[in-house]
């Protein structure tokens, strides 16, 4: 798995895809064990953490054990979620038990409630268009630059900042 990430960091998109796919299964198991009372949050947190791993992937040092890096990010996002929920639950105290009851009725436990596609629409055009072209349509930087009329560096910056803004939106929306 580490080899996949190292290849991914060197620009091998297929290896990176395989890495993220495998990572998501590990994250799902990790969060499911720790969020047994909140199954609805699991998939959202998996997605939030994948986005975080992607946005901060330049902080991985290939000489470092991959487990330590992934575990630290996963734990950080888990604690962050619990802290945000604690703050919100304190403000909505009377609803507490009712929410717990609903939490166990989990027909949608495997689906993310978080609709990233909708959040994507709320990004400004200079970030949304490059993401749509490069990430959803699979265009190269050159093609995306031509289609959007932006410079190549603006396209790259747009993708980068857009994904960061998406991560920030997830945090504030919760």
């Amino acid at each position: 798995m580490r080899a996949l990430l190292v290849c991914g960091l060197a620009g091998d998109a297929a290896a990176y895809h395989a890495f993220l796919t495998e990572l998501s299964t590990h994250l799902r198991a990790f969060f499911r064990r720790r969020l047994s009372g909140l199954p609805d949050e699991v998939e959202d947190l998996v997605q939030e953490t994948l986005l975080a791993v992607h946005n901060q992937r330049h902080t991985y040092d290939p000489t470092q054990p991959l487990t330590a890096w992934v575990y630290a990010i996963g734990k950080y996002k888990l604690v962050d979620l619990l802290r945000r929920r604690a703050g919100r639950d304190l403000r909505n105290d009377p609803l507490d038990e009712e929410l717990d009851v609903l939490a166990h009725n989990d027909a949608e436990a495997t689906a993310a409630r978080l609709d990233l596609a909708k959040l994507l629409l709320r990004l400004p055009a200079r970030q949304r268009l490059p993401i749509v072209c490069m990430k959803l349509e699979g265009m190269s930087v050159v093609e995306a630059a031509r289609v959007t009329g932006m410079s190549e560096s603006a396209v790259k910056v747009g993708v980068h900042r857009g994904l960061k803004a998406l991560a920030a939106m997830i945090r504030t929306r919760r």
Binding site: T21, L50, R57, H58, Y60, D61, Q64, A68
Partner: protein, 213 residues
């Protein structure tokens, strides 16, 4: 959006990543911060006029070596705390060692001095300036280092903020030492340490607020 769709989105067109991004970011921050601190010192305080004469005394170099070694150790601390899952290892020891060395020297100097003169060695003549100037000179590095960390991924936010503050304080003290006329170890052991700890405390408070991601 399903998780496998997100994975595809993230992986599509993912380009190579610079693996030294982390250290370069810290180096840039430290460079600008040190420049800012030096500029502030030269404009607001001025280099001590007798620096030629002072540079011939060993104590002048001890006074520089102390904050310099804390700067190096806290730079390692800040860099390690900016990456998820990296242990601090020997770094806390390297942070404490120079402080202990100065405190040992302080005790030695105080014991060799008659009781009535000890207070003067500790207080010096400029302790208030030291306590104000070191935190003031630390501001550029504090801001720059927090900026650097913001683009990385600290997971222990208060500790990371404290490391950024200590780095800023130590570099502030290093720059201040070029202005400061005090030449006694007890002064360093008390006021320089206090001056460095103020930005460290500020960083510990700021970290959880500004470094979240």
């Amino acid at each position: 959006m399903k998780t496998d769709e997100l994975v595809t989105l993230l992986a599509t067109g993912a380009e190579a990543v610079e693996l030294d991004a982390s250290s370069r970011r810290h180096a840039t921050a430290l460079g600008w911060g040190a420049f800012g601190a030096t500029l502030l010192m030269v404009i607001l305080l001025g280099v001590r006029p007798d620096i030629d004469a002072a540079a011939r005394l060993p104590m002048f170099w001890i006074k520089l070596a102390f904050p310099a070694s804390v700067t190096v150790a806290s730079l390692f601390a800040a860099a390690r705390l900016s990456r998820p899952g990296v242990r601090l290892g020997w770094v806390p020891g390297a942070l404490v060692a120079p402080v202990l060395a100065v405190w040992l020297l302080t005790v030695y100097v105080l014991l060799a001095t008659p009781q009535p003169e000890r207070a003067e060695l500790i207080m010096g003549r400029t302790w208030e300036y030291c306590l104000l100037s070191v935190p003031m000179l630390s501001l550029p590095v504090l801001v720059a280092t927090l900026w650097a960390m913001k683009g990385l991924a600290p997971t222990r936010l208060a500790l990371a903020g404290a490391a950024a503050g200590l780095l800023a304080g130590a570099l502030g003290a290093l720059v201040y030492a070029l202005h400061c006329p005090e030449m006694e170890a007890p002064f360093l052991g008390v006021w320089y340490v206090a001056g460095m700890l103020i930005p460290a405390a500020a960083g510990a408070l700021l970290g959880p607020i500004v470094l979240r991601w």
